[in-house]
Symmetry: C2
Subunit: 330 residues, 2 copies
DNA sequence: TTGTATGCGTTATCAC
DNA sequence: GTGATAACGCATACAA
């Protein structure tokens, strides 16, 4: 494997000159430049980034931690992150955390040991203390899920008003018994979505019924399970609001298995607008997040941090939209 | 940021000793060891992998190229790859190629420039020449999709017999007009699945009808489109065999939109057994690949190559299974 | 059991 | 415009 030394020798110049050619830094005569390029080709030389990275003390790699790559919600976001990264000469390392704090920590090691220049956290399980410590020492941006009690830039939507919009839509369709499938976690998005749900009920003069609030884990099966629970009640709900499309799709399955019709007997609203939301039967009414843009902004803020351009943390909220489909209106 | 030098100074030992403690290589007295550990903690020292990597000339990183992380088929495979990698002290870098040769090449650069110790290709678009060149110089394993005209280890299933099994199942259900949704690419899996389909028809004395062979791109929409095409024919097929679950799910949608019943009017078979196959309505009959195991084997063979243990390339075929669900039998 | 010294491949500072 | 050379942080051969 040829090194820069070999190229220098072959071209009859110093390594400094070769380096200058490689990085088009500094001046170098056109003629010598070509001699060097010639040598590079002849030796099939590839600069060794291990050397460069050590010298420059940077890797131009970005860690992206997400719970699970198979969650379709994340794929568009990742695309946005990736596009902006590449445009700026960075590469990303996608890391599955499985929502496991230990796994997350393994990846943080890579950052702390300088194998990456910055990190994006998508739904971190880290404690406030760990996050604070991290944010103090390294470039970090929180994407979608975030803690607001740490000074770390985050990019997301306003989950409170998104939930309000979804539930208000159901109210507008005449529903009075509206169930919610939430998740038992401490994510702010969850808290806010529940708060939005309760707020609309209150505004509509409907008393909140704890029996109509169940908990899943964002996944299909948990939606199926909790919806079955609702359907077994004496006083069934006439609408279900789930905080993820996957759970909503599970709920749809449960309703259909029970021989009920959507939306006539029971209406269903999801959250995220994943691709499958428009593939299922009936198509799912859901809250659409600007996933690609969320990814773009996230990466842009991270790069700004890496460059040392931004000092204070920022809170970015992008627009969302309620997509009305056949699962709520005939 | 503390370096090994700082630790050595603080502990009153040489850097060599600190290094020995860090890697538990060589002998070091328990007492000094503890002094060093003390200093490490006090300075909150993190070894800089950039230095180590350069010195060792390895990164313990593995590139994993796949067309698209949002394809649910790959997520289980990646899990297998990841688990084996971690068990062996490697980390993986997931890379979206978007089935774009140029993007693929960008990632190959990372390998050639030594930022990764090896690479796994999931559905590479590279030419035979490029692949040959790559395999000659770096540790490479092909996963699922592969070219057999290059000497590079690959792990997959026997797509020919899998397709035969699927179509035979339809024949067994009494179908005679069986359409196929394939893809226009040069993947061996595609060729073999088409060959299996035609072989079964031949064995069953059914003449192959070119009108019943349409092409998609593995995605939902293309399944919807091609199925609609079939449904508009005078002499409609009574069954559809798609080479991906996503296309099969699209086909199901088309059939239902046309007001026809599954499986009574038209039966549908998919391929891959992704999670959604059991979530859609009706649940999808499909060919199940041992995704997790495919990932494990792939990574194991790659590690063997990196260690220099294996010389010749190998062809690994794992067992598949036909999962029969409501989309083909009542 | 520990320390000294060298080099991994590169970039960047300085002198010419 | 170009060349010598000193780092970057670490692991290791060799000496002690």
């Amino acid at each position: 494997m040829a090194t820069i030394q070999d190229v220098a020798k072959a071209a009859g110049v110093s390594v400094a000159t070769v380096s200058r050619v490689l990085n088009n830094s500094g001046l170098v005569q056109e003629e010598t430049r070509e001699t060097v390029m010639e040598a590079i080709r002849a030796l099939n030389y590839q600069p060794n980034l291990l050397g460069r990275n050590l010298r420059r003390m940077e890797t131009r790699m970005i860690l992206v931690l997400l719970p699970n790559i198979s969650n379709p919600f994340y794929s568009r976001i990742v695309k946005g992150i990736e596009d902006v990264a590449h445009k700026n000469g960075y590469n990303i390392m996608l890391c599955n955390t499985d929502s496991d704090k230990m796994r997350e920590r393994i990846y943080l090691e890579l950052l702390k040991k300088r194998l990456s220049d910055g990190i994006i956290l998508m739904a971190s399980e880290l404690s406030r203390e760990e996050l604070l410590e991290l944010g103090k020492n390294y470039p970090v941006v929180q994407c979608c899920e975030y803690r607001e009690d740490v000074e770390i830039t985050h990019v997301s939507i306003d989950n409170y008003s998104a939930a309000k919009k979804a539930v208000n839509h159901l109210i507008g369709q005449g529903h009075k018994r509206i169930a919610m499938i939430s998740c038992k976690n401490n994510f702010l998005s969850t808290v806010q979505r529940e708060a939005g749900y309760k707020k609309v009920l209150e505004e509509s003069g409907i008393e909140f019924d704890p029996d109509l609030l169940a908990y899943g884990d964002y996944g299909y099966k948990s939606g199926l399970r909790t919806a079955k629970q609702f359907l077994s009640m004496q006083d069934k709900p006439t609408a279900i609001f789930a905080i993820s499309d996957m759970m909503a799709i599970g709920a749809i399955k449960a309703v259909r298995q029970a021989g009920l019709k959507i939306p006539e007997d029971i209406a269903v609203v999801g959250f995220d607008n994943i691709n499958f939301a428009s593939m299922c039967e009936p198509e799912l009414t859901t809250v659409s997040q600007p996933k690609y843009d969320i990814g773009c902004y996230t990466m842009e803020f991270l790069i700004r941090q890496i460059k040392g351009e931004s000092k204070s943390s920022q809170a970015i909220f992008l627009e969302h939209e309620l997509i009305i489909r056949a699962s709520t209106v005939k």
